[in-house]
């Protein structure tokens, strides 16, 4: 029979494990920080004082900043320009994506996506034969194409590129024909069939957070496109085509898209490609940049670093 470990020693080893984990995470963060470490932009607006604690050392120590802070500073700077002069792009570093799906979940939470609606799945790809095998993860948001095939097919102009170049859906205008779903070469649009996660779940008032409790949350409004839309009856966005919009409602408030802030590997980056000093502008000029289905001529605004 295997000898049982005393509780104390188990606790110690668990603590040791946690130390190791934190150390590893910190090392990973520093590694990702170092990849994008650049000199702080002297033209950037002053930032709020960083929180105290270990993060401080990473955020604003010396003349270097974390990519999230840098991107946020660049975002604020871009918001100071007229909207038509911004060119939002997303850069996804496939070498850094670990396939944790945090971005997918953050997106679902941020936009309160119902069952069957997804804006940013992470596709897993495997190739080769053992022992020569490879695997990578490909997050797939809306490509925000500069020549979007989904726009001309819409019979009522419900989907269009806004002045910042983001392809948006005007929910109250959309008739739900799903022609845009057929036209999109990236399957980046999904239809909202009015489902809820709590549909058909048991009710046990006072005992579990069942249907009655959670349903209230499900019906509460999200804030896509800056408009509160409670999920009631057959009101939009139910019955509509839905898609990633680069979290425009957050961007307008000076926040990065939810998928960017939650990416643990700093694999997803966002910014204004019309700003020659921005991080994304520098990255999309690299030789290892690529875009999905480039041969279709859709001119995606999502770039991948391979």
């Amino acid at each position: 029979m295997a000898e049982q470990e005393p509780l104390g020693s188990a606790a110690v080893s668990r603590r040791g494990f946690l130390h190791g984990l934190i150390g590893g995470a910190a090392a990973a963060s520093i590694a990702s920080y170092e990849v994008f470490a650049v000199e702080a932009d002297p033209t950037a607006p002053p930032q709020a004082a960083p929180a105290s604690g270990p993060a401080t050392a990473l955020s604003s120590g010396g003349d270097q900043v974390d990519v999230l802070e840098r991107m946020r500073a660049e975002l604020l700077r871009a918001l100071g320009k007229p909207a038509a002069e911004r060119r939002w792009v997303m850069v996804i570093d496939l070498r850094k994506c670990v396939g944790c799906h945090a971005c997918t979940i953050a997106c679902v939470a941020e936009n309160k996506l119902p069952p069957g609606v997804v804006y940013r799945p992470v596709i897993e790809e495997e190739w080769g034969t053992y022992p020569n095998v490879g695997r990578r993860f490909i997050p797939r948001p809306c490509m925000q194409c500069d020549k979007p095939p989904c726009v001309p097919v819409c019979p009522v102009n419900a989907t269009f590129k806004n002045e910042e170049g983001v392809v948006v859906v005007d929910y109250p205008q959309c008739i739900g024909c799903r022609a845009c779903l057929t036209a999109c070469p990236y399957s980046a649009r999904t239809a909202d069939f009015g489902l809820t996660y709590t549909q058909g779940t048991p009710v046990a008032a006072g005992l579990i957070a069942g249907r009655d409790t959670v349903a209230a949350y499900e019906k509460a409004a999200n804030f896509e496109y800056g408009t509160a839309r409670p999920r009631e009856g057959h009101e939009s966005p139910i019955g509509n085509a839905r898609k990633c919009h680069f979290c425009l409602h957050r961007v307008k408030a000076g926040e990065l898209p939810a998928c960017v802030t939650t990416c643990i590997g700093r694999a997803t980056l966002f910014g204004d490609a019309n700003d020659p000093t921005s991080l994304v502008t520098r990255l999309i000029a690299q030789p290892n940049v690529t875009r999905l289905k480039e041969e279709l001529g859709t001119e995606p605004r999502v770039y991948y670093l391979a």
Binding site: T104, P115, G116, V117, V118, P121, V122, I123, E124, E125, I138, R140, P149, P152, V153, C154, P155, V156, N157, Q173, C174, I175, G176, C177, R178, A179, L181, T182, A183, C184, P185, Y186, S187, R189, T190, A191, D192, F193, G194, L195, H234, S236, I238, G239, N240, A241, L296
Partner: protein
């Protein structure tokens, strides 16, 4: 004894009753109970919309042989074809209307259209077609053949346009290899004409339509031979579509063709679409004596229509069931995010109900409309 008409009345009423569930579910709960989704985003209703709209356009084309071109053998058949067009077009519009996530907003296509959209063009064209068909019907009822001619000319042009337009609605999608070819807009007008000819053959075969037996026999023979030619063209289209897809060896084209030819629903292609819908009717209709057995010819017309209906499904479903990225369906799972599509009970219910409504409208019209009751040619 139960006549064919009485049997059809009963079947149509049963179909309408079966459709009540689907209509109710769609109107009360929206698209909650449909099985099409975000990847296979167009399902049975869209396929059957193409079929019903095809019958409407094709029947109008056939009606023009009488009312526009004055083809002697087709005299007095125009009203039947026109009425068939009039009852199938609303069926198509109900089906495509139910497919909309927000059908109450359809007015936006009229008041705020985007004419670069094939769908907007089709909505406007079908609406115009509906108006023109109605005017043509009224003029036909009043017996004003001279005034009818320009209306039929306009209607014929629209019928050809909407037929090609439906093909283009699919064909413009560069994202879908099996849609994106110039063949679809070219094929659909021909297939729709075949629908119209087959429908007239059903009407003549089952209900007589013409009182003069000798003329009826000659008409059945002509319709039969025309249909055989059109079936030959359809078979050629199928050959072109699938042989090119397989020969070209592009991944998507091969997969989609393979799905139709060798997939789980291959029986629908080989047995229903090709066997029942092309080979059998072609063989039977080629036999000269068939023209003297009008009900048999009518039955062949039904088979051809069934084949054409299945053909629409094999254009729509397999093309959409091919994933735009490998692994997409595994990346995030959930309802309506699959590539396997089988129409739900509710979708079938609506489709059967629409079929019943159109059939019932046809029967009631031919029994009650003055257009038919006044005619000395009508045979019961």
């Amino acid at each position: 004894m139960i006549t064919i008409k009485r049997a059809l009345y009963m079947l149509a009423v049963i179909a309408v009753v079966l459709g009540i569930y689907g209509f109710g579910s769609r109107l009360l709960f929206g698209e909650r109970d449909v099985n099409y989704g975000s990847y296979v985003n167009w399902g049975l209703w869209v396929a059957m919309y193409l079929f019903f709209a095809g019958m409407a356009a094709g029947s109008f084309m056939v009606a023009s042989l009488d009312y526009l071109f004055d083809v002697a053998l087709f005299r007095n058949t125009g009203k039947y074809a026109l009425w068939a067009s009039a009852v199938t077009l609303p069926g198509a519009l109900i089906l495509i209307g139910f497919d909309l996530g927000h059908m109450e907003r359809i007015w936006k296509v009229y008041l705020q259209p985007n004419f670069t959209s094939l769908l907007a063009q089709l909505v406007w064209s079908y609406s115009t077609f509906l108006v023109v068909s109605t005017v043509a019907l009224i003029l036909a009822i009043r017996g004003r053949r001279t005034a009818l001619k320009p209306v039929m000319a306009v209607g014929l042009a629209i019928a050809i346009f909407v037929s090609g337009g439906v093909g283009a609605l699919l064909g413009v999608n560069a994202a879908r290899v099996s849609f994106q070819n110039a063949m679809l807009p070219a094929q659909f007008p021909v297939l729709n004409l075949a629908s119209g000819i087959a429908l007239l053959l059903v009407m003549v075969g089952f209900f007589g339509v013409l009182a003069d037996a000798e003329r009826r026999t000659r008409l059945v023979r002509l319709l039969s031979l025309t249909l055989v030619v059109l079936l030959g063209v359809k078979a050629y289209f199928l050959w072109v579509d699938y042989s090119q897809a397989l020969y070209g060896q592009t991944q998507e084209a091969v997969a989609v063709a393979g799905q139709v030819l060798f997939g789980p629903y291959a029986w629908a292609f080989w047995i229903v679409q090709l066997g029942l819908g092309v080979v059998m009717p072609a063989m039977v209709l080629l036999v000269p004596s068939t023209s003297r057995r009008a009900p048999l010819a009518g039955l062949m017309g039904v088979f051809v229509l069934v084949g054409l209906a299945v053909g629409r499904t094999s254009i729509i479903f397999p093309a959409l069931a091919f994933p735009e990225f490998d692994g997409l369906t595994d990346a995030f799972t959930g309802p309506h995010l699959g590539l396997d599509y089988t129409p739900s009970l509710m979708e079938w219910s609506v489709t059967i109900g629409v079929l019943g409504l159109s059939t019932l409208a046809y029967l009631v019209g031919t029994d009650r409309l003055p257009l038919f009751s006044k005619s000395p040619e009508v045979a019961r």
